[in-house]
């Protein structure tokens, strides 16, 4: 289940990097922010879990609007830096505002009954709900990428000035994509809060943004399935390595470096390339 949450998160992230060419280094804001919103709504206000998750996604979209508004003014590396800094700012705020409970996090979030019917404390029920949400998000990304709107996004990535001269209000497109990506990341974060029954600072910190980049990079930037593969790989690795003697961060760092140097296309990307070569 945690793999599904992270996979959705990575897909949302990939929507930006893979198709708009924007590397957000602050996506943890939307993921972790949504987790807090959902956890709070469900635990304190006693909302239905689905409503809580939706609130998380909407909250993330709202955050996306603010962050995006500031960040889309620049491209490439500048954009990455700005999102990173804003993300860091958000993490500081989360540390300080009372409803997040500082470093303890919001703990013991009840899973409750979905729409009052389905008991999510049942692991299998929870699993299918998570799967359904993931599939919904995955489909949404696919749809957006292969839509007329997605087409314009690609054109903007290619040559922004030219797109402007053709009459496109480029900022709106980018902001639109950013908000969509944030909302989907929020969907993932909100679901995670219900699955794990807590929301903590780890999800809003920049290391989390780094992790989602790793997942996407490892799986294959700009491939639809890549982020899913990458997320599964990283999460499994993290849990597996936990019982190892070797320091986890070092290994993750090494994977990062190796990926960038030799498998830039990522697992899915390399696999597709291999297939293409064979069919030639």
């Amino acid at each position: 289940m945690s793999v599904l949450c992270f996979a959705l998160f990575a897909c949302a992230f990939n929507l930006l990097i893979g198709y708009v060419g924007l590397l957000s280094f602050g996506h943890a804001t939307f993921f972790g922010g949504a987790a807090y919103f959902t956890a709070h709504a469900v635990k304190v206000w006693g909302w239905d879990p689905l409503a809580g998750i939706l609130l998380g996604a909407c909250g993330a979209a709202a955050l996306g609007l603010v962050v995006g508004f500031l960040a889309i003014r620049r491209q490439g590396i500048y954009f990455a830096m700005i999102t990173l800094a804003l993300g860091q700012m958000f993490a500081f705020i989360c540390l300080q505002v009372p409803f997040t409970h500082g470093e303890d996090g919001i703990q013991g979030v009840p899973r409750g009954r979905l729409l009052g019917l389905l008991d999510l404390n049942e692991p299998l029920a929870m699993y299918y709900v998570t799967l359904a949400i993931f599939l919904f998000g995955f489909f949404a990304v696919w749809r957006i990428v292969n839509s007329p709107f997605g087409n314009i996004l690609k054109a903007i990535r290619e040559n922004e000035r030219r797109a402007v001269s053709l009459g496109y209000r480029v900022e709106r497109y980018k902001l639109g994509a950013f908000v969509m990506s944030a909302a989907l990341a929020g969907l993932a974060g909100g679901t995670k809060a219900i699955v794990f029954q807590f929301a903590t600072l780890t999800d809003v910190q920049w290391q989390m943004s780094g992790e989602v980049i790793l997942m996407t990079l490892l799986g294959g930037i700009g491939t639809l399935i890549g982020p899913v593969v990458g997320a599964a790989f990283v999460i499994t690795l993290q849990n597996y390595l936990a019982t190892f003697d070797f320091p986890v961060t070092v290994l993750i760092g090494i994977i990062f470096v190796v990926c960038v140097l030799v498998f830039r296309r990522g697992i899915a990307g390399e696999a597709m390339e291999a297939l293409r070569r064979r069919s030639l």
Binding site: N151, I152, R161, S165, L166, G167, R169
Partner: protein, 252 residues
Amino acid sequence: MASATPILSATGITMEFRGFVAVKDVTLSIREGTVHALIGPNGAGKTTVFNMLTKFLTPTRGRIEFRGRDITALKPAEVARLGLVRSFQISAVFPHLTVLDNVRVALQRPSRLATQFWRSSDVLSRLDDRALELIDAVNLSPYAHLPAVELSYGRKRALEIATTLALDPTMLLLDEPMAGMGHEDIGRISDLIRRIAKGRTILMVEHNLHVVEDLCDRVTVLARGEILADGSYDEVSADPRVREAYMGTEHE
């Protein structure tokens, strides 16, 4: 055919860059339905005027009106949406899209297919006929499925013109459309411009005087940021100041 009312008029526009005056108090009015040339030596301020007219630069002073509407304060995308579209002097295409996709991107905008993120992009295939037609018009049909990066320079320019035309603009601003083109293409693009000029207004910057002579109803000469002469090609080319500042001695 050409009516007397100006479709685009600029009054006293001035552009200063940190103390350097690139364009000084230029007043220009383009009559609807004409092909108007803006010529002048290098650095005279032609591209700068273009940039101001399409709002990629905001004039330091002055006022610009398009079809009776004050557009001095608009954003570039808005100006394009009003039907005033430009091409760039240094070629501007979407490099990793195919030629066909390049043109389709332009066609998409007025077709209201641009913001639909919930539909499949297959709906765009309905734009293909029109796109191929435009590509054929600039002689790029054999390359329709090639990514634009792989085109040679001259062909990129041709593609850019096709893309600009795709918007079916009321008025076109072409910045040196012939630059870098081979002779046969110059002929072809001239024909194309002549064809599209029907029912449209065109303002172009061009150094190829044959083309200017051939195509343009009216010529404005810019030198050092100011208007030096204005009139038909014959009038202007007879002006000794223009000959000295621009054409040089050899041009007959």
